[in-house]
Amino acid sequence: MTQTRNLIDENGKRTDGRTVDELRTIKITVGRVKNADGSAFIEFGKNKIVAAVYGPREVHPKHMAQPDRCVLRCRYHMSPFSTDTRKNPAPSRREVEISKVMREALEPALMLEDYPRAAIDVFVEVLQSDGGSRCAGITAAAVALADAGINMRDLVAACAAGKVDDKIVLDINDTEDKEGGADMPVAYMPRLEQVTLLQLDGKLTPDQFNECIDKAIGGCKMVYEIQKQALMQKYFGNETELKEEIQQ
């Protein structure tokens, strides 16, 4: 990818006015899909993504069931109107791959051995896309799984870092993804200190690689706090009230 214009100005501001260490605005609403066992709606910059969890429930077709653990099924899909040019609604190879890496990113957090012969289905629908929709999708899916009351070892928080104008920046947006130098999405379980998703496209020197992964994990930790807050908001109401309660 060759870059044609500067994406960071002389004041260190990016195309959307952020600094290199700043996340886009993230808002998570828990339980937006009434019929689902757990759900979350995330606005991650311009991304608007809904994640719904059904299960644990009976597996269909039955032969997919496993005698000692639960089957996790995951679908990442983009709505035809979510992109600049209409996206064909049939699942693309990109969506097949993202569904797979998303499942693999969530699976380490789940205690699937607690639900033998059952299935948990995670549906992630991108209604409006911006850069980093897989990270936003994983973040929302983890919250939805927690909302569904699935036994979990930790939440999975995801955030990308990348290279723009030869600088390592946090949480790259659509423009930076298309015109910038590198994109590294990371999913992380902060309490267990485990990386569950790591991808990279674009060139990085060894030093930039280390800086990039550290920055992405820093971003994941910030996302983690927002996830926890969103869950607290639903289950304990206002967080400040809760803190006061704890202090008393």
């Binding site: 496993q66 099924r73 590294m184 991808q199 990279l200 496209d201 020197t205």
Partner: protein
């Protein structure tokens, strides 16, 4: 939809125990060290009908790759660049567990990860592959067939793609009266760098490169790291487990060192120096 599944290859409990015992002693069941690849054989120009081809054997994993060059319209948004399309197929010959039919998610991932390594390294200078800007460009297809599968298809396929591209000759096309004409002449492929992937598997607390199928059946997580001359260009963590940051950084360092050796092999074999 992506669903969790069990390995189709079952490793007996006793064999697993043997593997873990060996790993605890710093060895693997086939006698290799953790950072030791299986023997790598590369044979060039095995398919005369292709513009370039290679047969790669990594241990018992065997992949044939062929390059075919055509002309056509450029990709949307990349009007002034040639197109490069890498595909991969695991043939029903490859193992008793493969059935003919549309590619499953593992094969889609394989093709996309190999494609990403070549694409992101900018191995081929696509700017030089334009006939009429915005209208007609060279389209380079690299198609891979996995003939025999014994683990680490990512690296075996990636080496086959790179070797076939390095050995490929580009037909010289010309525009005559708005039509593409094959002049019958050949030119070298515009190569800028040589990407090399190194895949590692984590089994328990041990991280080992180039896992065979038995090791893959026991692994917790996998990571494929592609390096080019200047540094890293593509990464894919795969499988259901996780890595610590420390394990990833160590794997990246190993990928750089081991990748350099494979890169030197590829360059020497094809007589290309960059």
């Amino acid at each position: 939809m992506s669903a969790s599944k069990r390995s189709t290859i079952i490793v007996e409990h006793l064999r697993k125990q043997q593997m873990w015992d060996a790993l605890a002693r710093g060895k693997r069941l086939d006698g290799r060290d953790f950072n030791e690849q299986r023997p790598l054989e590369i044979e060039l120009d095995v398919i005369k009908k292709a513009n370039g081809s290679a047969r790669v054997k990594l241990g018992d994993s065997e992949v044939v790759a062929g390059v075919k060059v055509e002309t056509g319209e450029p990709f949307e948004g990349l009007e002034n660049k040639g197109a490069l399309i890498v595909s991969a197929e695991v043939l029903p010959t490859a193992s008793p567990h493969v059935e003919p039919g549309p590619p499953d998610e593992d094969v889609v991932e394989l093709a996309r990860v190999v494609d990403r390594g070549v694409r992101e390294s900018e191995m081929i200078d696509l700017d030089q592959l334009v006939l009429v800007p915005g209208k007609t460009v060279y389209i380079i297809f690299v198609d891979c067939s996995v003939v025999n599968a014994d683990g680490n298809l990512f690296d075996a396929t990636s080496y086959a793609v790179v070797a076939s591209l390095l050995s490929a000759k580009l037909p010289v096309f010309e525009m005559q009266d708005d039509k593409v004409v094959d002049t019958g002449n050949m030119q070298p492929m515009p190569i800028t760098t040589v990407p090399v992937s190194i895949t590692a598997a984590r089994i328990g607390d041990y991280v080992l490169i180039d896992p065979n199928s038995e090791e893959e059946a026991c692994m917790d997580a996998r990571i494929t790291i592609t390096t080019a001359d200047e540094g890293f260009c593509a990464i894919q963590k795969g499988f259901t487990g996780s890595f610590t940051v420390d394990q990833i950084k160590k794997a990246a360092e190993t990928a750089r060192i081991k990748g350099e050796a494979v890169r030197a092999r590829l360059k020497e074999l094809t007589g290309k120096n960059g």
